[in-house]
């Protein structure tokens, strides 16, 4: 039980980081289905810089910046040029798969090396608690960062002026514009910050959950992060609970696989996606998205 919950929290962290990024972006009215590609970019850049500098910390920083850059690219096309957001997202995903695959084969001829990782560290005081200690407080920095950021982002979105302006842009862009909120700039900032988080989420895969990079290793986690945002009904608290739910589903899948249940393995691999689809079928109709989600904003010419 303890090990299962520990794994659930650990596996939830990358999903939570990516979903928090997407939460910021979607609350500003932009759908970014390029999270998957952004995560993959972060995973690769984090790994490559980590290997080159032999420092996992530097890798994380580089992954964050790489994510920000992908977000800025997305914003150039989707915000500045008004290209459809879904189309830009798909292009980002294809570009990321192609570019990281190409760069990995150019950099690592033969076998891909193993890189540095951030190891788990028990927090002082609370780490020694029975049961709660190992489940919640003996993790990699990615886990602490994910849950810490959830608190910060939840507070910022609901209780601060920039958070209010961001949500105004996502709900009624035209009214926000009339109030003097620079819609395009707010969306650009949201995309850059949110994609930075997706980059870090990717780094969690190469610098903590494993120590190497394999092509297409995100394996749909970015898309599940999109579902986490819907399941979490566009609130930070909801996103935390949804990410934990998916983390638990994943942990159960690994547990069942390790126990050698008499089931073919593709069933296990299918499980997270079937769960996601089922959950969406039950919650999507009741969840209310930001009103201007997905609508490009064109300022009226006067």
């Amino acid at each position: 039980m303890e090990a299962l919950l520990e794994a659930a929290v650990r596996l939830a962290a990358p999903l939570l980081l990516a979903a928090l990024g997407e939460l910021i972006v979607e609350r500003a009215g932009v759908v970014n289905i390029g999270v998957e590609g952004t995560m993959l970019t972060g995973a690769f850049v984090g790994f490559a810089v980590g290997v080159a500098s032999d420092s996992a910390g530097l890798g994380v920083v580089a992954a964050a910046f790489a994510g920000c850059a992908v977000g800025a690219l997305f914003a150039f096309f989707a915000i500045a040029r008004g290209t459809d957001q879904i189309v830009v997202g798909m292009a980002v995903n294809l570009l990321a798969v192609g570019a990281t695959g190409l760069a990995a084969r150019a950099l690592y001829v033969g076998a891909t090396p193993s890189g540095p990782t951030l190891s788990s560290a028990a927090l002082p005081f609370v780490g020694g608690l029975p049961f709660l200690g190992p489940v919640l407080f003996a993790h990699t920095p990615f886990v602490y960062a994910a849950f810490g950021l959830a608190l910060v982002i939840g507070f910022a979105l609901t209780r601060t002026r920039p958070g209010l302006r961001l949500r105004a842009v996502g709900e009624v862009a035209r009214a926000a514009d009339a109030e003097g909120v620079p819609v395009a700039r707010v969306r650009l900032v949201a995309l850059v910050l949110g994609s930075g988080l997706a980059g870090i989420a990717g780094a969690a895969l190469t610098l903590a959950q494993s120590d190497t990079f394999t092509e297409g290793m995100t394996a749909g986690r970015g898309f599940i992060a999109l579902a986490v945002v819907i399941f979490g009904r566009w609130s930070a608290r909801g996103v935390v609970l949804a990410a934990l739910f998916f983390g638990l589903a994943n942990a159960l899948q690994f547990r069942a696989q390790a126990r050698g249940l008499e089931l073919p393995y593709p069933l296990f691999l299918m499980f997270p996606y079937v769960v996601t689809l089922t959950v969406l079928a039950f919650v999507a109709a009741r969840a209310r998205a930001p009103a201007d989600l997905g609508n490009p904003y064109h300022r009226e010419r006067s």
Binding site: I33, I86, G98, P266, L267, L280, A285
Partner: protein, 355 residues
């Protein structure tokens, strides 16, 4: 001729997107330390350099044409079908089930149509699931179709490790198709190529010459105005996703019955994702999907040669696809179309408000 000019402009922009993508890739290759010259000449040799290369290009283009048509139809109606990959895979799976398990001993006159129909039906069901989830539960088809792709990949894995695995049981692949289930061929060109080309013409007719096609285009241009005119965008979405799924499912059936002769994991190298680039480069125009599919098919055929002869990883094709999508979607959508639809929607909103 204003219309002619506009068409010419579209073609020019599509060519611009292709050239820009290839130049960017050549630059990226040079940066990564590959020599772009030999790489690009290997690409050309492998795609159009010989009659064998041309055949390879046409064979690779056929699934791209069918999935591209399905995606173009959906995008036309404002339905974001990202699921052609999964629809293709389930189509291939169903075709294989009929050919190797359900009717392996049937004569060709029965078996071949059954195999093709099973493929289309399998794709249809996968598309319709996404359509039904959107119509009845409000699930965005963007996410449901993506998730269904991952589920379909595992369904194929499940099938070739389980009920559809070859009787010999050595490898995770299906039994070879009985001769009666294989598409007739001339050389390596199979019947599916001709059917796919005919379906491009039929899709064009459906979209521009029928009442259903008119409703589909109306929903795509101005969903709220269309609803005001009594058209249900949800029903159109369900219909279109089913139809697009059937086209992709056919692509899967043609792959197993015309090219590979059996089912195995990884039977599609991502045709369903390339289809999005195919449809966008064609500006969602069914007839234009033919040259667009040929271009991306040539790219895939040539990428193999590029990997063998110049050592350039084939993943470079995805970079070309990504750039082509961005450039053609950004610089090739005629502004008039977009704003016309928005104006009709605004008018519908205004009337509704007053009522």
């Amino acid at each position: 001729m204003k219309l002619g000019d506009e068409r010419l402009n579209d073609v020019a922009r599509a060519l611009f997107a292709i050239v820009l993508a290839l130049v960017a890739v050549a630059g990226a290759l040079a940066m990564l330390g590959f020599a772009p010259g030999p790489a690009l000449s290997a690409l050309a040799r492998g795609s159009i350099g010989s009659s064998a290369a041309l055949t390879a290009t046409v064979l690779k283009s056929t699934p791209l044409l069918l999935t591209g048509l399905g995606v173009a139809l959906c995008f036309r109606c404002g339905v974001w079908n990202i699921g052609a990959e999964g629809q293709l895979l389930v189509g291939a799976l169903c075709a294989t089930a009929v050919a190797t398990r359900l009717l392996p001993d049937a004569p060709a006159i029965v078996l071949l149509p059954a195999v093709i129909a099973a493929g289309a039906l399998g794709g249809f069901v996968v598309g319709a699931v996404a359509g039904a989830l959107r119509a009845s539960r409000g699930v965005s088809e963007v996410i449901s179709t993506i998730l269904l792709n991952f589920i379909a990949i595992q369904l194929v894995a499940l099938a070739v490790h389980g009920p559809l695995q070859e009787v010999a049981g050595a490898y995770p692949k299906s039994d070879p198709f009985p001769a009666a289930a294989l598409l007739p061929t001339i050389g390596r060109w199979h019947l599916g190529i001709g059917i796919a080309a005919l379906l491009a013409v039929a899709t064009q007719g459906l979209l521009f010459r029928t009442a259903v096609g008119f409703r589909m285009r109306a929903v795509g241009l101005a969903p709220r105005a269309a609803r005001f005119a009594g058209i249900s965008p949800e029903r159109i979405a369900l219909f279109t996703l089913g139809l697009g799924g059937a086209l992709a499912g056919l692509a899967g059936a043609f792959e197993v019955a015309g090219v590979t002769g059996q089912l195995y994991e990884g039977i599609s190298p991502g045709h369903g994702y390339t289809a999005i680039a195919v449809a966008l480069l064609a500006k969602l125009h069914p007839l234009a999907v033919i040259p667009s599919a040929l271009f991306f098919g040539a790219l895939e055929a040539g990428a193999g040669a590029m990997q063998r002869e110049a050592g350039v990883p084939a993943t470079v094709t995805q970079v070309v696809q990504g750039i082509a999508i961005l450039v053609s979607a950004t610089y090739a959508v005629s502004a008039g179309r977009r704003h016309g639809g928005a104006a009709a929607d605004a008018a519908a909103d205004a009337v509704e408000e007053r009522a």
